[in-house]
């Protein structure tokens, strides 16, 4: 298939793997964090680690939109969904995320109307088809998905769709990366920067990471060769004692981002003073809410939500996994009490979550899998 197979060519991968191995200094260990859950998924799905030397470790980062939603917000969404006449909508990944009192799928079994949509515009269309109901879209995600929420809000306002609102949970990636850099628990050698987010915000905002923290960052695409090349570029920077923001994903990411998308976000949303991230706690200036001018489409203004902070289950170590401090299997409940069927933490729910990716694709000795599969 064109535009896919080219980025999954095993011959090119073998060549890159040789060059990666040649760049590694003997005796030195390298730890790179892939910030984005989409990268984590690609790494496991394609068995990319088979191409890396043992001295290079990829650490999974916080960029999984579903993983960072705290339990209290899930409960708030369910509370809204239970109001008379409401149809709650969200992306499919949200359906199984546990709140304090069950997930969307559990509440659907009890009679609430929570539906999966592929785009916020689908939720808006649903509202237009059901004028007697109120349709709420639970918006999640980083800067990647915020523009589509923004455009939907603008269209709802322009077309006066009064029975549509957004329950906004958009978060921004930079404060999360900064929180990780400020954390004393982790020694990283560089970052594989989030490709989708960067199509919106560009590469310039990452410059503080190289300038203030001295860590190189390479923005990468989502095909396995993209990620392998990003690892190569990071090692090359280290070998040449450089520390820069580089753009491996130039076919999609403009250096200065997408001005129209950023403008749409700015017209419809503004920063919250602080927001709770699952496992990471409260981070200031890290999330977006609907602007007051659009209050008629802001579910948080239309419905009174309990807004109760629900502590994560004691056994759950999603926060440590999201920060890259723990590898998925190092969590106390990984794979026994917490599985994809009965998730305790969010990292086990989303296909972009590090625990789900590791459980579904990697839950076995790498050496034995590699040997048995003949890869």
């Amino acid at each position: 298939m064109r535009f896919v197979d080219e980025f999954r060519d095993p011959a090119l991968a073998r060549r890159l793997a040789r060059e990666i191995a040649a760049l590694c200094e003997p005796g030195r260990r390298y730890k790179f964090m892939e910030v984005c859950g989409g990268h984590t998924h690609t790494i496991y799905k394609h068995g990319l680690e088979d191409y890396l030397p043992p001295s290079v470790t990829l650490v999974h980062g916080p960029g999984c939109p579903v993983c960072v939603i705290p339990m209290g917000r899930v409960d708030d969404a369910i509370h809204i969904a239970r109001q008379p006449g409401v149809i709650m909508t969200s992306f499919g990944d949200m359906m199984r995320v546990p709140g304090g009192h069950g997930s969307f799928i559990d509440w659907n079994a009890r009679g609430t109307d929570i539906r999966m949509v592929y785009s916020p515009l689908d939720a808006l269309k649903l509202a237009q088809r059901h004028p007697q109901r109120h349709v709420v879209f639970m918006a999640i995600g980083f800067e990647t998905t915020a523009p589509s929420t923004a455009l939907t809000l603008l269209r709802a306002a322009a077309e006066s769709v009064t029975n549509f609102s957004v329950f906004c949970n958009h978060v921004t990636i930079l404060p999360a990366i900064k929180a990780i850099l400020d954390s004393p628990d982790l020694r990283l050698d560089g970052f594989i920067g989030p490709g989708h987010v960067s199509t919106v915000i560009g590469c310039r905002p990452y410059e503080f990471i190289t300038r203030d923290f001295g860590k190189p960052l390479v923005v990468a695409g989502f095909e396995p060769l993209d990620i392998l090349q990003a690892v190569y570029q990071l090692l090359k920077q280290l070998a040449e004692r450089r520390c820069e923001v580089e753009n491996q994903y130039a076919r999609a990411v403009p250096w200065d981002g997408n001005a129209r998308a950023l403008a749409a976000i700015a017209r419809t949303m503004e920063l919250r003073p602080f927001f709770e991230w699952r496992g990471l706690g409260f981070i200031s200036q890290s999330a977006l809410k609907v602007r007051d001018e659009l209050a008629a489409h802001d579910a948080e203004k239309i419905f009174a939500t309990p807004g109760v902070r629900v502590a994560d289950p004691k056994a759950c170590q999603c926060g440590e996994v999201l920060k890259g401090v723990l590898r998925p299997w190092e969590c106390k409940v990984f794979g026994t009490a917490c599985t994809p069927e009965t998730p305790i933490g969010t990292c086990m729910v989303s296909s972009e979550g590090a625990c789900a990716a590791y459980y579904n694709f990697g839950r076995f000795s790498r050496e034995r899998v590699r040997e048995a599969a003949g890869a």
Binding site: D122, F364, A372
Partner: protein
């Protein structure tokens, strides 16, 4: 042993434990054909109905009556939409049950058909469905010999649900079982995978994706008869419906206590299906087929089996997609097209409800 390996072995032990149903309500996941469905069947139905025929959890029961070996099966159909490119609920209702009989090696004989209809359902639609069933039945030479009709009030059903049961006779001395697969066996698939599920997804019209995909719904009876005429070393046949090829591989790996190793590059997938799956983030390995089967065959006969399958129009793209080995037992491994390796797990959750 490293700490990681200790943890992983603990997890494997946890996975082997007897399944207990913990949910207090039925959710959509219980119908998805993955682990939740398995939990419901083993934790509730098997507990209630336990008997030697049911216990083996095959797609059909095989038993002897007065010296004749019979196969018996049943299947319900709730697909939405009722009509889709390549067929309708009627085709599925006949082919699905015929296939569940045929994969045991039986010759399908008679079907029953139960209809649950919603008040207000157009008779013209029902007529189209019945005609499709008649054509599908005639094509394989089975008779729809008995039936039942119930009507529920408007809003209490979704147009039309169909349940079919079927009886077939085993005229060959074969006994296929998910537990009968051995190291050294070859894994075959009879054609490109993922077409039915992709078709249904697009037919719902919620995605604004146009792609030239058609359901593969078809009877496998003739294809299987041709394979069994040509090759003696068939160990297990399965039609790859809900949960797709990946789910069957996992069931067989556990039941036979073997490892299944698949080669992603060898698995036939039409470019249109690959494209749609790529866009939607689905893995074709988990997407339902309604006219494809997986065959586990003695490794030395793999070539002959592929030739036999390719001799039939339904099997013209048949391919060897993997092999069976003894270790690591119970796991399905994949050599990815990219050249890496990973495991392939049971399906979790429900990416695509009401597919059949």
């Amino acid at each position: 042993m490293t700490r990681e390996q200790e943890v992983l072995e603990r997890i494997e032990r946890a996975r082997r434990r007897k399944i207990r149903l913990r949910d207090d309500r039925i959710t959509m996941a219980h119908g998805a054909g993955g682990r939740a469905t398995q939990t419901l069947i083993e934790g509730l139905f098997l507990e209630a109905f336990r008997n030697p025929l049911l216990e083996v959890l095959e797609d059909q029961a095989v038993f002897s009556v007065n010296g004749s070996r019979l196969a018996f099966t049943t299947d319900s159909f709730v697909v939405s939409p009722l009509f889709f490119p390549g067929g309708c609920i009627g085709d599925l209702a006949v082919n699905g049950t015929v296939n569940d009989l045929a994969v045991s090696g039986a010759r399908p004989l008679y079907l029953s058909a139960g209809f649950i209809l919603e008040e207000g359902f157009p008779v013209s639609d029902l007529k189209r469905i019945a005609e499709a069933m008649a054509r599908a039945a005639e094509a394989v030479g089975v008779a729809i010999a008995t039936g039942d009709t119930k009507v529920v009030q408007r809003g209490k059903g979704d147009g039309c649900y169909i349940t079919t049961s079927g009886v077939g006779v085993l005229e060959r001395d074969v006994s296929f079982s998910a537990a009968g697969v051995k190291p050294g066996d070859a894994v075959l698939v009879s054609g490109p995978i993922g077409e039915h599920g992709t078709t249904i997804m697009l037919a719902r019209g919620e995605l604004d994706i146009a792609a030239d995909v058609v359901s593969d719904t078809a009877s496998l009876a003739e294809l299987i008869a041709g394979l069994l005429d040509a090759v003696d070393g068939v160990r297990c046949l399965r039609d790859a419906t809900r949960g797709g090829v990946a789910t069957i591989m996992n069931e067989v790996a556990v039941a036979s206590s073997v490892a299944v190793v698949l080669d992603e590059a060898a698995i036939p997938v039409r470019p249109e299906v690959r494209g749609v799956c790529e866009v939607l983030g689905l893995d074709p390995l988990y997407v339902a087929c309604e006219g494809r089967m997986v065959a586990f065959v003695d490794g030395s006969l793999a070539g002959a089996a592929v030739r036999a399958l390719r001799a039939h129009p339904l099997g013209k793209d048949a391919a060897v997609i993997g092999t069976v080995r003894d270790d690591p037992a119970g796991l399905v491994l994949l050599k990815t097209q990219f050249g890496g390796s990973r495991i392939v797990d049971m399906l979790v959750g429900d990416p695509l409800p009401r597919i059949c």
